[in-house]
């Protein structure tokens, strides 16, 4: 991510975000925010302020090593001097304390772990998270963000961020028919001004679909591209096809059977399209998301994965399928998407 991706366009922030941004550092905070609400950026800006105003006595902790690496790009961009910890590493170092403890993705920790953070805090803590995004449901007893305050004698200030700044409204309308157990749809939740209508294109066969994608990439009509597919074997097929069409691209590949085959070094400073599975795309975002070879998703897990993939765009969503429009896309009202690759334009 570029430096400015870790800074804010302050004039575009809503009142809730402004309150988090402008809050004093002399009280602990718990910030609960939905996907796309800018939590991680606000967490690092909090660290930047502490460093500028109070010095280096702070620690930033996240749950996974992968997230730690992602946050580290922000650390360098914002000139933060302290190393960040992933949770295991922090524990291994005997849970070092600090005046200020900042934890992102707090929803992935259990009660004891959160208590350890609080105990390690000499002055104030700043927790950022979203219960809805807990990825360890059923695997560990994570504590809902809303319940953290009940653990404290001196209550922390709680902020809620409700608005999604990433997902364009036309895409938000479409994915309502794909997601599972979603809350009631409120268009005002989505603040992005991007207005491109999603396209569902019937193109027979993967090869023709990738050929079409390759053409759009080569003529420069799309940029910052993610090509998301359902399965690992599709990643291999798309890789071979893109090579045959002469398109440089990068892969993210998780081989569950042999970790030696994993590929995970996406370089976001290149213009190369990135190819990966729906699952691998969680947490990432692209200007244009292509979903080739979409097939019916009858069960909840398949629909959830498709939902994750469709919501990775901050501008264009282009879905490709063979034969009939697959379920649950077939449920979507036709006025919410376009069926052609291009719009009709009359010469002036």
């Amino acid at each position: 991510m570029a430096k400015k991706d870790w800074m804010v366009i302050e004039s575009e922030l809503d009142e809730d975000q402004i309150r988090v941004l402008m809050a004093t550092n002399d009280k602990s905070l718990i910030v609960s925010g939905c996907a796309g609400s800018g939590k991680s950026v606000l967490a690092l800006i909090k660290a930047q302020r502490i460093q500028k105003e109070k010095g280096n006595n702070y620690k930033v902790i996240v749950f996974t090593k992968a997230l730690c690496r992602y946050m580290n790009s922000g650390r360098e961009s914002l000139g933060l001097r302290n190393d960040f910890y992933y949770h295991y590493e922090w524990k291994k170092c005997n849970r070092p304390s600090a005046d200020y403890i900042i934890v992102d993705e707090i929803q992935d920790f259990d009660r004891n772990e959160i208590q350890e953070f609080i105990s390690a805090t000499n002055r104030n803590f700043f927790f950022f998270g979203d219960t809805a995004q807990s990825i360890y449901e059923g695997l560990k007893r994570t504590l809902p963000v809303e319940e953290i305050n009940y653990m404290l004698t001196n209550r922390a200030k709680v902020f809620n961020l409700y608005r999604n700044y990433r997902l364009p409204r036309p895409v938000a309308k479409v994915v309502q028919y794909v997601g599972v157990d979603l809350e009631g749809f409120d268009i005002d939740t989505y603040k992005s001004r991007e207005n491109a209508i999603p396209r569902f294109l019937k193109i027979q066969g993967l090869e023709s679909q990738i050929s079409s994608i390759a053409r759009m990439i080569k003529n420069g009509s799309v940029s910052d591209v993610g090509i998301l597919v359902q399965r690992n074997e599709d990643v291999r097929k798309v890789h071979e096809l893109l090579n045959s069409f002469g398109v440089n691209h990068e892969l993210k590949y998780d081989d569950k059977t042999n970790w030696h085959n994993n590929i995970n070094n996406l370089d976001f400073s290149t213009e190369n399209p990135k190819v990966m599975t729906y699952h691998s795309a969680k947490g990432l975002q692209f200007g244009t998301v292509f979903l080739p070879n979409v097939v019916s998703q009858q069960d909840d897990s398949g629909r959830k994965a498709l939902y994750v993939a469709m919501t990775r765009t901050y501008r264009n969503l282009i879905i490709m399928y063979s034969d009939d429009l697959p379920y649950p896309l077939s449920k979507i009202p036709q006025d919410l998407y376009k069926k052609t690759e291009r719009d009709q334009v009359e010469d002036i």
């Binding site: 004039s11 402008m22 280096n56 420069g220 990068e250 590949y253």
Partner: protein
């Protein structure tokens, strides 16, 4: 002109510095650009007007969970611009445009200033610190609290809002033009940069592939790109002059490779491809690090134009409209009219405001219609404008059409419509099309986004220019064109003894620097020096030129002084003597700065700004604190700094070795990282340098330098600061 004070809260500070103006609260909600928020306070409570006071009073903000602190903004205004309501109070129903010559930001405490500065750091639109930092001050004595105004609000001045919209867009246009010119590159540099970027794309693709090997197509393309890059090295260029025949050249090069292993400065494709095969995901791949550093180097300081060489009158705005335009992007008279129509009519519409991707189809159609209207049916029917603009519309709609790219005005507009969402993307796209002059494209970009929305990383291209005199000239030109007022020459302000000058000290406030006080005594001494009198009869010419220089700080003065010797009308045969004079003057300025730094309070205490961390082995600030123990000799300081950085890096798992240009494993990565152990190790490391083998010239060089450093003093200091028991 009257000096007036606007009480407000620091919560508005970033807003003010994004637009360089202050407006009545309702303007922010209604004008549709920049911030829509403005926080009112009891001393300034109205929606439709700003309250100003003619004295410095006290402002107290209630205790809050937000960083809400008092702020006074001092402005100088013509009394006709404000309405007096008695008791030293005034009302103003329009935007007040700020300038560093007539504005001061007055904080009530060092802490408030520090917090406000820190909060501005994360805000991309807060972009004028560099211009105003000398006008940001801390009030030492505050008066009585302000009286609260007790009259009705004024009615909303809608004409003033319309004027603000126009000024914001045209200010974006003018800033965009100068910044675009500064970003412009020569064709050779653009080609080189494109080659590096393409290598980066291919390397990243190989690295994240299954085989970690290039495809045939990638390998062939890499071969071409590496050949191109090698062809640009001085050695190859010289060889091409000496040896005409390409085959003979190849034979010579092969002979060098066989004999010496490598041709100096040559980049070897095979070498980097082998790095891509030995990937360790923990650290950045060496080949990727290398290519990224080449891209960075290629982007740095490759400007085609210096700030002083850009014509201040290339674009002229008069009365809120573009009046004239110069540039080789126009090739027919009608194009001048078309471009002015775009700028004065189409792009000036308020609906085209930032976020170009949300309206690019509508904008392209609007532009096409306007152009047709200017051309008339006959010209339009046979013109290339019709084809190119309609092709642009087809391209946006998803048609597979080829667009033409060149230095013309339609290319500039097309690039902005397609890629103007983000300035770096726009720049990169134009570079990829081997366009080399970006003035017009970024002018259009600036107008569509408006000045207020321009981000700091973009405007810093201009504000960070070292030629401060030319920067001031550009600033003054833009201000004059937009607001019809001429800002003074800084040097003239000083000469006239204006007590409110930009750089004047004020008894009530603490100032950072007073340029006149710094330069004048040195100048007087200089005129009496042997160096100056040695110029003989030419001295009079130099003295006259020196006295008429406009400058904004000592560095700027020195930079302009150097240029005097190169002026066309400079007395002949004095160049060497003048260079000596400049050297003499520079030394005097430098000495003066050292003394002054000891006496004058700084805006931010550097030691507080860069506090010592918890662990010595990873504390990047510590060098700042150690510097005071090192001799003045810069070669010793640089050597020590380099060695300290190396020492600290070696406690990491791995690090990028700048000298070797590759990733290295940390030698001390498994050692004890407790401060006591690390400091002891550092003590030994430094002592070893003192005792190096002096028979070896390289070692002698190092040893000589370390002998001049009081190592024990530094070790004692480190132990004290990191609380290590002695």
């Amino acid at each position: 002109m009257k000096k007036l004070y606007i009480p407000t809260t620091t919560l508005n500070f970033n807003n003010v510095l994004s637009s360089e103006s202050i407006s009545p609260k309702s303007f922010y909600e209604k004008r549709g650009f920049g911030y829509s928020r403005w926080m009112t306070i009891p001393e300034n409570p109205f929606d439709n007007c700003i309250v100003l006071y003619d004295y410095i009073g006290n402002v107290v903000r209630p205790k809050s969970e937000l960083e809400d602190h008092p702020l006074l903004i001092e402005v100088e205004l013509d009394e006709n611009m404000v309405k007096s309501v008695g008791d030293g109070m005034y009302m103003c129903d329009h935007t007040i445009y700020l300038t560093p010559t007539s504005t001061r930001f007055l904080f009530f405490s060092d802490l408030n200033l520090k917090i406000t500065y820190s909060m501005s750091e994360s805000s991309l639109e807060t972009k004028l610190w560099g211009i105003y930092h000398k006008k940001i001050e801390i009030l030492q004595n505050v008066g009585e609290p302000y009286k609260i105004i007790n009259v009705d609000d004024l009615s909303l001045n809608t004409d003033a809002i319309k004027s603000d919209i126009k000024i914001n867009k045209l200010k974006g246009l003018l800033y965009g033009y100068f910044i675009g010119k500064l970003l412009s590159m020569s064709i050779d540099d653009v080609k080189c940069l494109n080659a590096y970027k393409e290598i980066h794309n291919i390397f990243a693709a190989i690295l994240s592939s299954f085989s970690k090997q290039p495809t045939v197509a990638q390998d062939e393309r890499l071969e071409e790109l590496f050949s191109y890059i090698n062809g640009q090295t001085p050695f190859y260029q010289k060889l091409s002059v000496i040896v005409d025949n390409e085959n003979v050249r190849k034979q010579v090069l092969n002979l060098i490779r066989e004999t010496y292993g490598e041709v100096r400065d040559e980049v070897n494709k095979t070498h980097y491809l082998s790095y891509l095969r030995s990937n360790n995901e923990e650290n950045e791949n060496t080949a990727i690090s290398w290519i990224k550093s080449k891209i960075l180097d290629s982007e740095k300081g490759k400007g085609k134009y210096g700030l002083s060489t850009i014509g201040l009158d290339d674009l002229i705005v008069v009365d809120g409209l573009l009046h004239s335009v110069k540039g080789d992007f126009l090739s027919a008279e009608v194009e001048d009219t078309i471009l002015k129509t775009w700028i004065n009519s189409t792009l000036l519409k308020n609906e085209y405001n930032g976020r170009i991707s949300t309206y690019r189809e509508v904008l392209a159609t609007d532009i096409t219609k306007e152009t047709k209207s200017v051309c008339g049916d006959e010209l339009w029917g046979k013109s290339t404008y019709k084809t190119r603009l309609n092709n642009l519309r087809h391209f946006i709609a998803g048609d597979n059409v080829e667009l033409e790219w060149g230095k013309d005005f339609i290319s500039a507009l097309s690039a902005v419509v397609l890629y103007g969402e983000n300035w770096e993307k726009l720049l990169s796209f134009m570079q990829s099309k081997e366009i080399t002059d970006y003035g017009l494209a970024f002018a259009l970009y600036g107008e569509l986004h408006g000045f207020s929305n321009l981000t700091r990383d973009f405007t810093d291209v201009l504000y960070s220019q070292p030629d401060r005199g030319s920067l001031w000239n550009v600033y003054r030109e833009i201000y004059g064109q937009l607001l019809g007022e001429k800002l003074p020459d800084l040097i003239n302000i000083e000469k006239e003894g204006d007590t409110e000058s930009l750089l004047q000290k004020d008894s009530e406030t603490v100032k950072m620097e007073t340029i006149k006080e710094k330069v004048d005594p040195i100048m007087n001494e200089f005129f009496g020096s042997d160096e100056f009198t040695g110029l003989g009869v030419a001295a009079n010419w130099y003295k006259k030129e020196l006295m008429s220089l406009s400058y904004i700080d000592a560095d700027d003065f020195l930079s302009q002084m150097k240029k005097l010797g190169k002026k066309k009308d400079a007395p002949k045969s004095t160049k060497r003597k003048w260079d000596k004079c400049v050297k003499f003057f520079g030394k005097a300025i430098s000495e003066s700065s050292k003394n002054q730094a000891k006496e004058e309070p700084l805006l931010f205490d550097v030691y507080k700004e860069f506090p010592i961390g918890d662990s010595f082995y990873c504390d990047v600030n510590i060098m700042i604190h150690i510097e005071k123990f090192l001799p003045e000799d810069s070669s010793i300081r640089n050597q020590f700094k380099e060695d300290l950085e190396w020492f600290q890096n070696n406690y990491k798992e791995s690090y990028y070795d700048k000298k070797k240009g590759k990733q290295e494993i940390g030698l001390y990565k498994s050692r004890n990282k407790e401060n006591a152990a690390v400091i002891d190790n550092f003590g030994n490391y430094c002592s070893n340098k003192v005792n190096l083998d002096v028979e070896n010239p390289k070692m002698k060089y190092l040893s000589d330098r370390y002998r001049k450093i009081d190592i024990q003093k530094i070790i004692d200091f480190l132990k004290k600061e990191y609380k290590v028991n002695v």
